[in-house]
Symmetry: C2
Subunit: 276 residues, 2 copies
């Protein structure tokens, strides 16, 4: 099968050991390329680097966003910081050329390993929230055309928002700072550990639900992938509990169709300016 | 004033722009040097590097722990990844010499800025838990001598544990996976943003409360410092909600004496082996 995400995150290893990617304009949101997609591009480069070690899966990835990425060529450079038997640590940098010089977009650290080699049973996990049936949730695909124009990536997602936290879409934000949804990719590309890096940053920012519809630049995002997801609809939940100093933290959890917590992330982002 | 923490995190800048530290044996716990103390050492090196830019404070620090540090000399190497007007991003590496070669102990990324230049008022924050009065909580200083011998760093902390989550100390872990305490440094060194990097990893791991008293090696820890703490007793709370794949996540929140959330962190750590 040929899926949009796989085309979008494909990397070619150069003779120098760098990974060349082509950032696809289909993953643009607002003034830049979606941060979760970029995380998946970086994750896919590390995956290619460490697959031969039997450590294909992200366990933890911390990304510091430096400047907005633009569609077009990008290079991912890796440094193997520590190579272990069970897991390895890698430093990664995503760079693009701009006005004839190289600009670093993201710097990241990651631990990769083999999720299949880890104990399968969860001893404790946050249970998924109870959402209305998929058919009763709001497809972001059906957002107004002017919205899709600014956020073409919505066409890649089969996201269906829980209507309880989606009234911001019609100008009535709930003020809860919560957004939760059923999640799949529109072409039904199965979710795997690399796709979970996309999933943790695939919903609109929780600030939409706080009445702040502007761009919320991420300073830092750390994702933990805890298990290989079962096929089918995932549930993704974003919430913020701390808004201060012009910044907010956004916690994200992802559960697979079997109800298991498969990923969680936290990001620290700048609050958008209030609408004028 | 001359405080233990300041002596322990002091760094000297070399002509090459590296920062030399001396890891103090007083911060040892079990087989290594405490991870929060190491984070404060790295934070202090970045503080020294960026103070001239008016960006003295950690905003976000992500550390990947590679090998256990030992007391003695250490070198912190920094790379300024992005220098901005309001905040800058730095990559850091803490290395030690071992058996004649250099071993990387921690690799980290950080954003520093000026907490005083950020809006002061919190729009939303997690409220602190209600703890019994300090006098009714359990001083870790009074731990049994054999315990202090393994964890000399306890002598540096004025920690007083909430007895509701401290029965593991007498062999009856509650199973909640929660540990919370009043926190100060024993010599009353005021908590500041750098000291908060220590505070987020200063309590025993929550696995103690789960009946797993062994060492829980941290893979990754990200701390966000949200405000400069008011003087006085802080409250620190650790909890785990996800235990799977042989790993657990430990969330930490720190509130200052005024009840404001001043730092939070999340770490992903390996579960200790069950006691034999």
């Amino acid at each position: 099968m040929d899926f949009e995400l796989d085309r979008g995150i494909a990397v070619d290893r150069t003779a120098d050991g760098e990974y060349v990617a082509h950032l696809d304009p289909g993953w643009v949101v607002g003034g830049g390329v979606n941060g979760g997609y970029l995380l998946a591009v970086i994750g896919n480069a590390i995956h290619a680097e460490l697959a031969e070690l039997g450590q294909p899966d992200p366990v933890s990835v911390s990304a510091y966003y430096l400047s907005p990425s633009v569609p077009g060529p990008a290079v991912v450079r890796l440094r193997r910081v520590r190579t272990g038997r069970a897991r390895s640590t890698v430093a990664a940098s995503l760079v693009q050329r701009q006005d004839g010089r190289e600009v670093e977009r993201i710097t990241a650290l990651a631990v990769f390993g083999d999720l299949d080699a880890m104990p399968g049973e969860a001893q404790r996990e946050i249970p998924p929230p109870v959402l209305p049936p998929v058919a009763d949730c709001i497809p972001t695909l059906e957002a107004p055309p002017e919205f899709i124009k600014v956020a073409p990536l919505l066409q890649r997602f089969g996201t269906r928002l829980d209507p309880a936290y989606a009234a911001w879409a019609t100008g009535r934000p709930s003020g809860n700072g919560i957004i939760q949804a059923w999640f799949r990719l529109v072409d039904d590309r199965p979710l795997d550990p690399i796709a979970l890096l996309l999933a943790v940053d695939a919903l609109p920012p929780v600030t939409f639900d706080l009445g702040l519809p502007g761009w919320a630049p991420t300073l830092e995002l750390t994702a933990h992938v805890r298990a290989r997801p079962a096929p089918g609809w995932a549930i993704v939940r974003h919430a913020t509990r701390n808004i201060s100093g012009g910044m907010f933290e956004e916690d994200c959890e992802v559960w697979d169709s079997a109800g298991h917590l498969v990923a969680q992330s936290r990001q620290l982002a700048l609050l958008p300016r209030p609408p004028s």
